[in-house]
């Protein structure tokens, strides 16, 4: 019984200590001149999907939930947001080269179609974020339209 008590105290103490390890959150910027949605480049239905399922990691408009401030979950959140923005940041969309836009759109279609994105660890905690078959189809069709638009420019 004594051992159990000690263990609980140790775990609690460790948990408290974890909170003091510094963690740098990617900055939240609401207004982005080159943002895909803010540039008015997407239909409403797509905007809704992108905002609900993609924008937390793939834009500068991340909405951090309360548990994003509690270690060790906070480390996962920070890692994923950083990685997400590096791979694809919709807030910088308009500044990308055409060839990079096509590469990313092709990748979006693939990731969404295969169900790799949004990531399971995200949809577990963001119920509305998982994409149903219809939403996937709409999104893939949108990437094709966008790519053809870029080709036609």
């Amino acid at each position: 019984m004594k051992i159990l008590k000690i263990t609980i105290w140790v775990v609690l103490a460790l948990f408290v200590i974890l909170q003091f390890i510094p963690n740098t959150y990617p900055e939240v910027v609401k207004s982005n001149e080159h943002d895909l949605i803010q540039a008015g480049m997407v239909p409403g239905e797509i905007e809704q999907i992108l905002r609900t399922s993609c924008y937390d990691c793939h834009s500068n408009e991340t909405k951090y939930p309360w548990y994003a401030y509690i270690a060790p979950v906070s480390w996962l959140v920070v890692r994923d947001v950083k990685q997400g923005r590096t791979d694809l940041n919709f807030s910088e969309w308009a500044s990308l080269k055409s060839r990079d836009k096509i590469k990313l759109l092709d990748e979006i279609a693939e990731e969404v179609d295969e169900g790799n994105m949004p990531m399971p660890i995200y949809t577990i905690t963001h119920g509305g974020a998982s994409l149903d078959d219809n939403q996937k189809q709409v999104l893939v069709k949108w990437t094709e339209d966008m790519m053809n638009n870029i080709l036609g420019d």
Binding site: K97, S98, R99, D100, I102, K103, L105, D106, E107, E144, M147, N148, I150, L151, D153
Partner: protein
Amino acid sequence: MKTRNLLFPIALIAVAVIFQSSVLFNENNSVAGDLNIPENVKSVLDNKCFGCHNTEAQSDKAKDKLLLDKLGDLSKTKLIAKLGDIAEVAGEGSMPPEKFLEQKPEKKLTEDEQKLLVDWAEKAADGMLN
């Protein structure tokens, strides 16, 4: 006298055979397609990438990512996307994969080859957009 008369037709046939086989060789064993790949780029792709990225290769993962002998079958947008992928992995040096290089270190891309592939892939992609 007779052998002399035969010399010309034999030479002709020989040339035809060599020509044919070089065409076949090109179709089966190297990067083809109507991309107009410059010779120096083609030779890097053939030597360092084609081994895994062709229809007959072993690895399904490599084949799934890129088939250098089927580039000509891709739609314009897919081709631009693939060229972007090539530029990315060549630039990062993430291809050929490290595990593979442990077995065949001579397949590693030199810095010049990396730059050559990146420049070519980016230019080719841009060329298709204009």
